[in-house]
Symmetry: C2
Subunit: 403 residues, 2 copies
């Protein structure tokens, strides 16, 4: 069976390497050899064995009847979307690692694949090498999914881990992550939470079977997190993680990305460095968690190739994925109930002002930073909480707290 | 679509409850309603709604053309094996939670299902509700699986967690686990490691695509573990877990079940109480881990029902599972290399005797128990290690140590 790879960057070259290196295992699992016939890229790769397979015109791939699976590892919306759509229209199954594409056009591309009786697979778009999409589609099917909580961005998790373990301030950790190649020169996609936002949009769409627009998800990154926040969290036996989550409640489905102080007995607490994990709670199943490397050339390529193998095994048969283009209106974030940590200017004598607004307030510490106190309040709705903090003299900052 | 449930015990009644409670979700995922038409049990259940569905004769089920899927939740080898085989021969897909049946007859039943173009699924046989079998079959397919390490028995993990956290001795913890219903009155299947042994045999067979006989897997349970062992582990910043593992090496495939002292940064370290987890290492993927409740009525029933849904979705089409009946000869356990902890009668002045045999020996403590010392040695092959400990005066006990 022949495949074509669109984009010979980190993931694309990883896919080519995995197909080559594990060829015998892959042939055994797929029931036939799987080979990359073409690689589409506008760049030159002199001396690289890919040279002979390089093409610049997508039509070569679309018009070759030998190509059964197209692997899209270009990233970004265009030309990825046009190419993927054309490949599906040409009757070729598509496998992608592109979370932006899936978050935006997943529902339509799934419908198009179903119509053509081929497949559109995207395991590598969330959690890199961690199997999570296929388990959601094929394993957690007997359950009402009540909650998803994930650490879905390895870069920010690495940064938060170093801030905690070594007490390094944010700016320095970011510089280090950039030097190590974990963070881009423009780190916004990671540190502002945009990457995690697209991933939780995908998982939530799969859990509820309807389109959840990532633009609707309230998203806060880690750029505002200071060493003092980390110290306050530690004083509460907690750890700050960038949590992407969605939760089914009587008020509707809440979805958000934000830093959260989580306790030591939370399954995500142990997820450090560049590791990712997704915890899914079902009404029958309770909690299950999937853990592993959420990024990186070979883990991500491994997930892409496992999708290629599924596409080969399911030739001529569409695997039904319940993700309806019909948009789901998320619940109002102001109604989300949580406990909150807040920092307020003053000394412990000023704690009374916090208590006046929040009767259940607890003083966390007045020792972490000069001239301020940290407090814990709630559970209270986010709307009520922000309303009250606007009236609170000396209010500095706040963060979600999970029990 | 109609199913029949064989055995109305904990899991069987859970399956009936999940089918009822989550009927709408299940119908949406399966593409049609799924209902239990019969329940086979020799007992009476007066007043239970199951009464109307109870049958005592398997032939009623086998001969009813409306029954497409048979769910086996009786446990044990017989009559489960005969019933399952008859169901497959009658052209009905089978879903089971029975690890004994799968470990012993999995390869044959898979082959029979393939021949009949139906399916034999067994997600719930390992890790209860945790998706691990289907991810092994359908997600980790691009990788050469190098190692599997799992905490596959919730009862023993609960016991070890309490021994550690509360310093309670083994006998007392066992009694408590029996009172809580976690351990059977005859606890051998759990505490001797037999249950974990069958589960690692299943996972290893799936990883290598060949039959691994559970009888060949060197198995040690937790009955010999004392409060002192737990204290020594803590002195080494480690924790004792009952680890079921298999590892591909140049000497062949090693598989074993045994208590292991694992370090705090090992992903399985945080797996406490009745939780289970399986860590799988691929040559491209690195480590991934699946975590959740490894037992219990509803989590296990949820996994069974997800298999029923897959069977419905794949009517008329066998999902290929690469598990050849051809037996794999495991590597000689004597050649397995590890570090080891050992307890020796004497004081720290006797440490020299240990060093004479093991040049790399380290003294862990002479303070944990009166009149003995604990030492760490290796890496060394298990054969060489046991040979030397036979010559060691005052040798008391030993345990595997993982770095």
């Amino acid at each position: 069976m022949y495949a074509a790879i669109l984009g010979y960057g980190t993931i694309g070259s990883g896919v080519a390497a995995v197909l080559e290196e594990n060829a015998a295992i892959i042939a055994a699992k797929a029931g036939m050899p799987v080979e990359a016939k073409y690689v589409l890229d506008i760049r030159e790769f002199p001396g690289d064995p890919v040279e002979k397979k390089l093409v610049r015109d997508i039509r070569v791939i679309l018009e070759d009847p030998e190509i059964e699976v197209v692997v899209e590892t270009m990233g970004g919306l265009e030309p990825a979307h046009t190419f993927v759509k054309s490949a599906l229209e040409a009757g070729k199954s598509v496998v992608t690692s592109n979370k932006e594409l899936v978050a935006k056009y997943g529902a339509q591309l799934i419908a198009l694949a179903a119509e053509k009786n081929i497949n559109f697979f995207f395991e590598a778009s969330v959690g890199g090498g961690i199997p999570v999409i296929r388990p959601m589609i094929q394993c957690l099917t007997a359950d009402d999914i009540l909650e998803i909580e994930g650490i879905l961005n390895g870069t920010t998790n690495y940064m938060l881990t170093r801030m905690k373990k070594e007490g390094i301030p944010y700016d320095e950790v970011l510089k280090d992550a950039q030097e190590k190649g974990y963070a881009e020169r423009n780190p916004a996609a990671d540190v502002e939470g945009f990457d995690a936002c697209r991933k939780i949009a995908i998982l939530t769409s799969l859990a509820c079977g309807r389109q959840v627009d990532f633009e609707d998800i309230s998203t806060t990154g880690i750029t505002g997190i200071t060493s003092e926040d980390v110290a306050y969290a530690a004083a509460m036996q907690r750890d700050i993680k960038l949590i992407a989550s969605s939760k089914k409640t009587e008020k509707g489905l809440f979805a958000k990305v934000s830093p959260v102080m989580i306790p030591a007995d939370h399954p995500l607490y142990m997820v450090s460095d560049v590791f990712n994990a997704v915890k899914v709670t079902g009404n029958m199943l309770g909690d299950v968690m999937f853990y592993g490397k959420g990024a990186g050339k070979y883990p991500t390529a491994s997930a892409v190739v496992s999708d290629v193998i599924e596409a080969v095994k399911n030739k001529g048969r569409n695997i039904r994925i319940a993700w309806n283009p019909d948009k789901l209106q998320l619940a109002d974030p102001a109604e989300f109930e949580s406990r909150f940590f807040l920092r307020v200017k003053g000394t412990k004598d000023d704690f009374g002002k916090v208590q006046e607004l929040f009767a259940d307030a607890q003083l966390v510490s007045d020792q972490i930073a000069e001239g301020e106190i940290g407090c814990l309040v709630g559970p209270v709705s986010y709307g009520e909480f922000t309303g009250k903090t606007q009236k609170l003299p000396g209010f500095l900052s706040c963060m979600f707290v999970k029990d």
